[in-house]
Point group: C2
Chain length 462, copies 2
Amino acid sequence: MRATLPAVSDLKEWYRLHQREILEDYFTFLKFPSLSTDPAYKLSVRETALWLKEFLQKCGLCAELWETTGHPVVFASLLHAGPDRPTLLFYAHYDVQPVDPIGEWHSDPFDPVLKEGKVYARGASDNKGQCFYTLCAIRAYLELMKESAVNIKVFIEGEEEIGSLGTAGILASKEKELKSDYLFLLDFGISNAHSPAVMMGMRGLLSLEVTVQNSAIDLHSGVHGGMALNPNHALLSALSKMWTESGRIAIPGFFDDVALPAQEELDRYDLSFDPVSYKNKFGIKACIPTPGASLLESNWFYPSLDVNGMYGGYCGEGFKTVIPAKARAKISCRLVPHQDPHKIAEALTAFLKNHLSENLHVEIKILQQHASYRAAWDTNVVKISKEAYEEVFSKECRYLLCGATVPLVPKLAFYSGGEAALIGVALDSDDMHAPNEHFDLERFEKGFLVIGRILISCSSFS
Amino acid sequence: MRATLPAVSDLKEWYRLHQREILEDYFTFLKFPSLSTDPAYKLSVRETALWLKEFLQKCGLCAELWETTGHPVVFASLLHAGPDRPTLLFYAHYDVQPVDPIGEWHSDPFDPVLKEGKVYARGASDNKGQCFYTLCAIRAYLELMKESAVNIKVFIEGEEEIGSLGTAGILASKEKELKSDYLFLLDFGISNAHSPAVMMGMRGLLSLEVTVQNSAIDLHSGVHGGMALNPNHALLSALSKMWTESGRIAIPGFFDDVALPAQEELDRYDLSFDPVSYKNKFGIKACIPTPGASLLESNWFYPSLDVNGMYGGYCGEGFKTVIPAKARAKISCRLVPHQDPHKIAEALTAFLKNHLSENLHVEIKILQQHASYRAAWDTNVVKISKEAYEEVFSKECRYLLCGATVPLVPKLAFYSGGEAALIGVALDSDDMHAPNEHFDLERFEKGFLVIGRILISCSSFS
């Protein structure tokens, strides 16, 4: 082991020397269309995993693929430091969101483009960008240290965007491999480019798909209009009843278990939020927070309900006078602590069935059920993360919550058995899940430095 | 002129001798993807028109294309019989409906397949099938007669499925060419394969598209859920208000001008209709007729309102947790006599705007506005058609109405100045506008015989 540990300035120097190589590898990573939701891309997803495995091996870790019923996990470890030294587990994901509406991209989502310091590609931020600066930081740390003073484990899944069903299924059998002191979950962000933050929790997710069918085939709306019930009408009528006239969620029991944080906890969060700049940033015209809550409180402390997709009939250019056989909607809820995803799924299913005619064929498929998560306050891992952020950003680190969901977090925290920190440098304005997703290289470097600084901090533990 | 006119048996013999050639040409016609609604097929539409023009020339008519702001009209005429003889104008269309959902076709919609006496292809029935047996009948008549005893005009448009906007625009300038004594509109049908019928009218059509936008880009439903208004919610809420809880159309003023036919008129229609066999035929589970009306009365005598397409957010495989920037619906009304399409368009537009938040960007595009049509009773043209049907089918001809719309009918009837008959041998079960559209060759031949018999009847007029 080196007598003196490297400093952040050493990490910066390493980054400067390897900048070109980092960018090349990052672009290679982004070029894989690792779309986990679409079965047509199954092979591409695996190729991405194999590339990552090789990359981790080149960094000096032992890497392997863990097969699941879905897409494989890339797991890598370097345990030379020995059982007396701290073990760090880093989590990220290599799968990405679909790219549609494809017409709104200014460049090919899988042919990354560097423009004015920003990399444009699907996954540039979520989560290939965050994943890759983490791997680069591990590599830099290992090269600067010569010999690692901590045990390092890396867990990169390929199912984050589709609910981690297969991945969750293998965790129990990998408990030994996952065991760690500190779990760093690299799929989170900060509220603006200059203000570092540790996230203390996230909302859960319930998603389902409802299909309503009346006729066996699509019908001509002239020949059948006024006779056959239109499943579009049945579906939109049922969906519209999910909210009251004033926009409050009307599913019976939906809010039963929602409890607001105690004042003491509330006081620790950075609740500063400017609705005007928020609306300007995304070109949003209308907001509809939970009654009685500010926009940010609504997103952090309350559940939400969204129709993420609805379709029935002719959706192309021009017109087609059709009464479709089927109409379908994709619906999701974000859940807060104490809300049981299974209980909410039952309430929502019962509500929809109740409002859809018994005469129609109704199919409701529950797709994802993930609980929310809260990290413990005042742990070592939060302290280390906070210090790393503050050194790299030269600014006080805040505490935030995340309105979104990383499905595996509660389960991975459980099986690792370690203290968990929800970190990262993503921004809402990275257009994750939207056309023209991007990530700027300045933040990429900062993320790299934060992870490097965390590794160095842990190395100093006696 | 022949001393004796040919009989239906002569037509049958001619058909038998030319059967193979007819089928070959019919298949060639069906192979053109003449999708009028999709700009990508503009050239294919024109190629179809050029093929028809050539076919009509081979039959001995003078044929030409009439350019419009949309797709061209194929017009052909043979006026050798002279001004003292009757002039017959035949109307059909060569454009077809879109083919989606393409996955539900059992064969390529533009590669016709003959299976158990039925031809499967887009347009097999609507309207290439009906158009083509008409052209074959004209050819047979001319060959059997040696010299035509009537003047023949043929008008085949390429915009029926998209509202005939360009076609309607040239009618006034073609008044002289369109002038005729009898107008046969070949885009109608019968209620079952063995019962001939003349249609005495059709409903009108109003169609529009409403787009609701909130944010400039698609938003992540975790990051923004509970803050940004989801345009899917705004749209489905507004659409759901178009009906009362019991399913009656709730647009103010919608029914104001609706008047039921007098009892005398009602008595002449064949109102026999079996709801059970109707539902079985199309696999329909639920019907929702206008309150107080039977299914058939609802389709014939009352206006209807349908959401023909709605979509917003992710509609593909799997899931995408998105709050879409935009949501859109395609809506149409079928209108009855005395309802003014412009007045209903205004009422519907005002209703939707009224129920969509002023804070959202709302765009409403009126696409089609066509009045309904009623033919006169007891005209020569209805009498000739009825007799032709009865001879060919050996069964009494009924009087029906059509719930669907052929947009050009009222305008073409006006400019031709002649008596109009809405005829054809299509069936609702031909799956027009749906996957696996088909037409059976037995009915194709009957249609051919009906048109041939009509031509012969008119030739006997002194």
